[in-house]
């Protein structure tokens, strides 16, 4: 816990933390603005997909509309940056050597790095939620939302579903983050680790997009990232959501186990 608190102090004193957060806060506001300015044009054939068009009728769903766009690239990018920087960044500046000289377990160091990266993503997601809600309320107002399947639910029910959707996205993004942390144990360059994690993420996405690779789909965590959209159709089919969460859990445990194994045996030379 002490380690985590120390990490948090480091996190909030780094400029780069704020760049990511500002980006995450800006995106829902920009999305809202774009949709608001384009609001008279939304019956066009080429209109945006389901969740985003729902948000155009109701600001309450703006957070989930924003997360739809963000989970495709910006969120994985930030997660791999923060995941990679936690270890490899300290190797770059040479501080990790000093750190590991103290009598603390390497497992504890890794866990605190993992934990702080998750906290970073949680703060980012909270900003998206709040930014989306404020922007959506100003542009389209907050009322009882209609779901993808056409039923109307209460405002609190809608907020609850949005919150569940965010928690699901968080679990998916932790996979990317763990991937970046694993690569960070293999290299001393945070950029290399972040790019490697992102490359794996993009490759998985491409494999998932072609029907030829359909047999791989259940095993790629990326193909489960959008399963939270099932929350917006009543009655909710929980099966894909549960399968997604189990897949995420396997990836996270597996990646972190390998990262822990590598980090324990790693020679810190720099």
């Amino acid at each position: 816990m002490m380690l985590l608190r120390r990490e948090f102090t480091k996190l909030i004193h780094q400029k780069r933390s704020y760049v990511g957060w500002i980006g995450l806060l800006a995106v829902p506001l920009l999305v809202t603005l774009a949709l608001y300015l384009n609001r008279n044009n939304h019956h066009h054939d080429n209109g945006p997909g389901g969740v985003i068009s729902l948000a155009m009728h109701n600001g309450l769903l703006m957070p989930v509309a924003a997360i739809t766009l963000l989970s495709a690239f910006l969120l994985p990018l930030l997660a791999s940056m923060v995941g990679a920087y936690q270890l490899a960044g300290e190797a770059e500046t040479g501080t990790i050597k000093t750190w590991l000289m103290h009598s603390i377990s390497r497992g504890g160091v890794l866990a605190s790095k993992w934990g702080i990266a998750i906290i970073y993503v949680i703060i980012g997601l909270a900003l998206v939620f709040v930014g989306g809600l404020i922007g959506g309320a100003l542009a389209f107002g907050l009322h009882a939302p209609a779901l993808l399947s056409g039923q109307t639910v209460s405002i609190s029910h809608g907020l609850g579903l949005s919150l569940l959707a965010f928690l699901y996205v968080l679990a998916g993004i932790i996979c990317v983050l763990s991937l970046a942390l694993l690569f960070a144990t293999m290299t001393n360059s945070s950029l290399t680790a972040a790019i490697a994690a992102l490359v794996v993420f993009i490759v998985m996405n491409i494999l998932g997009a072609f029907s030829y690779f359909d047999f791989m789909k259940p095993y790629l965590f990326t193909s489960h990232l959008d399963a939270w959209q099932n929350l917006l159709s009543q009655p909710i089919s929980w099966h894909p959501i549960v399968i997604g969460l189990i897949t995420f859990a396997i990836y996270i445990v597996g990646l972190m186990a390998v990262a822990w194994y590598l980090f324990r045996r790693k020679d810190i030379l720099v």
Partner: protein
């Protein structure tokens, strides 16, 4: 805590998780051998299924391999130029279905940008697209009672009568295609029988149509259409998971969400559809097959100059079978349909007058298709536009003021030979 102990914990967690997913995703693939049934026995049980099964619900998926490049559309997602809700429905997708006898039907198409709901129940027939925020109410055709859909209860007949009727029906169908029992398969986790329909015609592109039928409830679970010589289905629709438990009545109600655009569309009556397909017949004589000379004369009375292929230049499988002529009426000109060949191997030549009607605009529509899908050829000096898929081929062209469409579930070469015989 020792290093080894940790490793044991990690391995154990991974193993438990892997087994959990394995169980959850693969489910038990029951492979017990089913009681052997004849085609007629199976069909009789299917006809009787609504008496014992009153509700069906589950996840459904459908695929369409007719249009190439669906991979690319999948990759581009919402960026494709096709209307998103339509492309999701046309190229394949997945969704959920609920059906309750006496209750109603609800079908949901899901996927990024293709969310679409159809609800039929006591509120009537509705469709709703969340992408456009449009709810459409289909008014029942005039004169029809606004009843809720049922699982088509079979007529009150003794099993023996049903069996005899089915056997007679199969006998009549034999000149078009044969129905046989296929291998036992597992569909939506349910052991199922397969009915295989193989066309009698040697010249059709249709290889077979396969229907998988739940071996316990005798509810059809999947339909597949195979092209000749192809081992993967070109068209497929069916359940990926199914349950027969009672469905909550609230699923068959629909109230348009506030802010949705509500449209009202009258639904064509079945009689009206039939009339549109056959033309408004003045007499029974028009409905029955005419000879080519009779059809030409009947069409000429309506000012439609028929074009017909030269019989001697036609492929042997495409002999003239019959024709029907629908006289001109308010809204559309005369339409003639010439029928060549037998069963699934037939080719239809539809000739229509005037610029209205579905077939009249077909050449323009085909010309407007993206390159690669539409093909240009020349027929009797004019440009013809063709659409070629693994199951059917269409060629359309303008002959003076007459729009001519040749179509059939035959290979491209066969249709081209047919079209080449048209002078």
């Amino acid at each position: 805590m020792s290093r080894r102990w940790w490793a044991v914990v990690v391995v154990a967690v991974l193993a438990v998780a892997a087994v959990t997913v394995g169980i959850a995703t693969s489910r038990a693939q029951g492979s017990a051998t089913l009681q052997s049934l004849s085609v007629a026995q199976l069909l009789a049980k299917v006809a009787a299924a609504p008496q014992s099964t009153t509700a069906v619900s589950g996840d459904v998926s459908w695929t369409n391999g007719l249009i190439p490049g669906s991979d690319l559309t999948g990759l581009l997602g919402g960026q494709s130029s096709a209307p998103s809700s339509l492309s999701g429905l046309a190229l394949g997708g997945s969704g959920r279905l609920w059906l309750q006898q006496g209750g109603g039907l609800r079908l949901e198409s899901q996927g990024s940008g293709s969310d679409f709901v159809v609800v039929a129940g006591k509120d009537g027939l509705w469709s709703y697209s969340s992408a456009t925020g449009t709810a459409t109410r289909y008014a029942p055709p005039a004169g029809a009672s606004a009843g809720t859909p049922t699982l088509s209860p079979s007529p009150q007949a003794s099993p023996a009568d049903t069996l005899a009727a089915i056997a007679a029906g199969l006998q009549r169908f034999a000149s078009t295609g044969t129905v046989t029992m296929g291998p036992q398969v597992t569909v939506a986790g349910r052991p199922s029988y397969t009915l295989v329909m193989t066309p009698a015609s040697a010249t059709t592109t249709i290889g077979s149509v396969r229907v998988a039928i739940d071996a316990r409830t005798f509810v059809p679970l999947r339909v597949q259409v195979f092209a000749k010589g192809d081992t993967t289905a070109v068209l497929s629709a069916g359940f990926t998971s199914v349950s027969y438990g009672r469905v909550a009545g609230s699923l068959f109600t629909f109230t348009p969400p506030t802010g949705a655009t509500v449209r009202h569309t009258p639904l064509p009556s079945p009689q009206g559809l039939l009339r549109a397909a056959n033309g408004p017949h003045k007499g029974a004589a028009h409905a029955t097959a005419l000879t080519l000379a009779q059809a030409t004369a009947a069409a000429a009375r309506d000012g439609l100059a028929l074009t017909a292929p030269v019989q001697s230049s036609l492929p042997a499988s495409l002999a003239f079978e019959g024709a029907a002529v629908s006289p001109s009426a308010k809204g559309h000109g005369a339409v003639a349909v010439l029928h060549y060949g037998n069963g699934f191997g037939s080719v239809a030549l539809v000739e229509s007058q005037g610029a209205s009607g579905a077939s009249a605009t077909l050449p323009q529509q085909l010309a407007g298709l993206p390159r690669g899908l539409s093909e240009r050829t020349s027929v009797a000096g004019t440009t013809a536009y063709g659409l070629s898929t693994s199951l059917f081929n269409v060629v359309a062209w303008q002959h003076g003021k007459v729009t001519v469409v040749a179509a059939g579930m035959v290979p491209k070469a066969t249709l081209q030979a047919f079209v080449a015989a048209v002078r």
